[in-house]
């Protein structure tokens, strides 16, 4: 029997009205996350990954954003939830952390004040003193040395890595079931990145929390994720387990992404591959496949690729889903030729 996912997103569409026209930031995106698992959402800047994540907590600015589709969390409808209902989910059942730990903490209050605030907003009956003890434990848990001495300091008195730990402590103070991490390590040094990812994994193991990890760093994905969704032009173009994505990518964009990663294999050839061109404007998406202008495999199938948007479909013999008109065997043989 298939497990019921903790979170399922179905046919999510997000549009923003701007003075220049309607931006189709997210188009027909569907995915699911199970408890204890980590889903990576990978893509370039402007691929819609952050907007997708913000939709789960209804954080997109209400005036200009139009969201359609369904988001179910633990069987509850998130998109249809009213203000009060969504507030009770935010921070207590689904927590979110952001890219830049330097700006994610309120500079005008002590870190203790902010963690206690995050706890007490969902535990109104708990006194400040008791909440402070819980905050101290949490700071200790995330590896802040000597938390008793530092809890009354301000964010700017901590280093970047320490701040991200504090952000994580704040986000996880209510033991959420799902953590959405929007590029949590992008702004940090490589050594600190590994520490933060380890910390997230440790905490995940302790309380079987699900994580949605948004990143453009495939190295981070390989290290931490179970499943991956690759986004391009506001759509998911490939959905696979981590192993499948790295061993048998099925979408031309994924080929490109993997080719752009420095690994022991391709560093021998000296140069990193790049994907020529730039991502499509979400203001004017092309009529067919949005990757077509940058795709090296579409010549044989130009008519279909330029007119029909490819649907995400299962690719045998793998378990992956790919949104490409070309059959995988054909792609792989083309790719093989290229390498040879």
């Amino acid at each position: 029997m298939e497990k019921i996912p903790l979170l399922s997103v179905e046919n999510l569409n997000v549009e923003f009205s701007t003075p220049d026209g309607v931006v189709h930031a997210v188009n027909n995106v569907s995915f699911a996350v199970e408890s204890g698992k980590t889903l990576g959402i990978v893509g370039e800047s402007g691929s819609g990954k952050s907007v997708t994540a913000s939709s789960i907590l209804k954080l997109n600015s209400g005036v200009t954003a139009k969201t359609q589709g369904a988001i179910l969390f633990n069987g509850r409808d998130v998109l249809g939830a009213d203000d009060k209902a969504i507030r009770s989910i935010r921070g207590s059942e689904i927590a979110m952390i952001f890219q830049d730990p330097l700006s994610a903490l309120n500079p005008y209050y002590t870190i203790g004040n902010q963690i206690v605030e995050a706890y007490r907003v969902h535990h109104r009956d708990v006194k400040k003193g008791a909440a402070r003890k819980i905050a101290l434990e949490m700071l200790h848990r995330v590896g802040i040395p000597n938390p008793e001495a530092r809890i009354d300091e301000y964010p700017h008195q901590f280093s970047g890595g320490m701040r991200q730990r504090i952000v994580i402590a704040t986000a996880l103070i209510n033991s959420p079931k799902l953590l959405i991490a929007d590029e949590p390590t992008t702004a940090l040094d490589v050594t600190v990145q590994a520490q933060i990812l380890d910390l997230m994994k440790d905490i995940q193991k302790e309380n079987s929390m699900a994580i949605i990890l948004i990143t453009h760093d495939l190295g981070v994905v390989a290290e931490t994720c179970d499943d991956v969704a690759v986004m391009y032009g506001g759509r998911i173009v490939e959905k696979a387990t981590v192993n499948e994505l790295f061993l048998t990518p099925t979408h031309p964009y994924s080929f490109g992404l993997l080719g752009a990663v420095r690994s022991l294999d391709n560093s021998a050839r000296g140069e990193l591959q790049t994907i020529a061109g730039s991502p499509p404007s979400l203001l004017h998406l092309p009529s067919g496949c949005s990757f077509l202008p940058r795709c090296g495999y579409a010549q044989q199938n130009l008519a279909q690729c330029s007119s029909v948007v490819p649907e995400l479909g299962k690719v045998s013999p793998t378990e992956s889903f790919s949104a490409c008109h070309l059959r995988t065997e054909a792609l792989i043989s083309l790719k093989m030729k290229e390498i040879a």
Binding site: D83, G91, I97, L105, P107, Y108, Y154
Partner: protein, 329 residues
């Protein structure tokens, strides 16, 4: 923090000393003979000479300045024998035009200016911050656009125009209020309010408009901050996020500007006081210019400068209190 405050205050004192020196020198360099201004056109040369000695204008300039500074702390006695008279500390000189010590003149007019500034300040801060926040929260909707139109008009209207407009419409045309006649609030609070309400509005209009814009932009900028999004993601109520996250960040620069604007007003709201015939420091200063009443001119300039320097110091200290990142350990 204490050393920071001590250093700021010390710096302010040095600055004040420099300001007093320059103000005094500047007016001493004017090509008018202050002694000749002490009596009318048909004055005898002997009287002018006597007044010159009495007021100390016969002494070299550095000694005059020293007497002036000494007078601020110890008071000053002019002349000797029967015709001697004293301006007690803090003495800023003696006005022959008005036959009063300058400090007495300022003491009489300052409360008017202070009440005027304080009322206008409270009014424009409430209006400006309130409307600015309101507009930002309704960004792009008709409320925001209406606010932007109204503030554009507000910032482009000169004070004397608003003053005359208000005076004409409310007092002359609608006759809701009598022509403003200043009364001290302790004597007759009703008359005080009746005299002050129009000047308050006049002064507040322009500033409220620009503070609305400042607040709106500050709030919008703050709403884009990651920590505000993080606050929302914590599950905080909108009201809490706006109060503790957005306004806290948006108001810090506004507090800084507000302190300086308020201090500048305390030095005399020249136009508004003139339009509404309020006996404040602005009118005193204007009168001293037209009458070439040098001691009063030096006195009012110096007092205005003191307010600016004081406000600067206070703003610096308050900034450190409001923003922990600026605090010096």
């Amino acid at each position: 923090m204490t050393t920071f405050i001590a250093r700021r205050i010390l710096f302010a004192l040095v600055l004040l000393a420099a300001v007093s020196l320059f103000t005094y020198l500047l007016f001493a360099l004017l090509p008018t003979d202050p002694a000749a201004l002490t009596c009318g056109k048909n004055c005898k040369p002997e009287l002018i000479a006597a007044n010159r000695v009495r007021l100390g204008y016969d002494k070299p300039i550095y000694e005059q300045y020293w007497q002036f500074i000494k007078g601020i702390f110890a008071g000053r006695t002019y002349g000797s024998g029967d015709i001697a008279f004293t301006c007690p500390a803090p003495s800023l000189g003696y006005s022959f035009n008005q036959h009063e010590c300058v400090s007495t003149l300022i003491g009489k007019t300052f409360p008017v200016t202070a009440f005027l500034s304080l009322g206008a300040f409270v009014l424009w801060m409430l209006l400006g911050v309130g409307t600015g926040t309101f507009a930002a929260l309704h960004r792009g909707k008709w409320q925001d656009r209406l606010t932007s139109v109204v503030t554009s008009i507000g910032v482009s209207l000169p004070t004397f125009y608003v003053g005359l407009l208000v005076l004409f419409s409310v007092v002359i045309w609608l006759q809701w209020l009598p022509f403003p006649h200043y009364a001290s609030p302790t004597e007759n609070f009703h008359d005080f309010l009746a005299a002050m309400i129009l000047p308050w509005i006049t002064l507040a209009v322009l500033s409220a408009a620009s503070y609305t814009r400042l607040t709106r932009n500050g709030v919008l900028e703050a709403m884009n901050e990651d920590f505000v999004r993080f606050g929302v993601a914590k599950g905080l109520k909108n009201r809490t996020v706006i109060r503790r996250y957005v306004l806290r960040a948006a108001l810090i620069p506004i507090v800084t500007i507000a302190g300086l604007d308020f201090a500048a007003l305390l030095g005399g709201a020249i136009v508004t006081e003139s339009v509404f015939s309020l006996p404040g420091m602005g009118r005193l200063a204007i009168r001293s210019v037209t009458d070439s009443d040098l001691p009063v001119l030096v006195g009012t300039t110096l007092v205005a400068a003191v307010f600016i320097v004081m406000a600067n110091t206070i703003v610096d200290i308050v900034y450190g209190v409001l923003d922990p990142r600026v605090r010096v350990k």
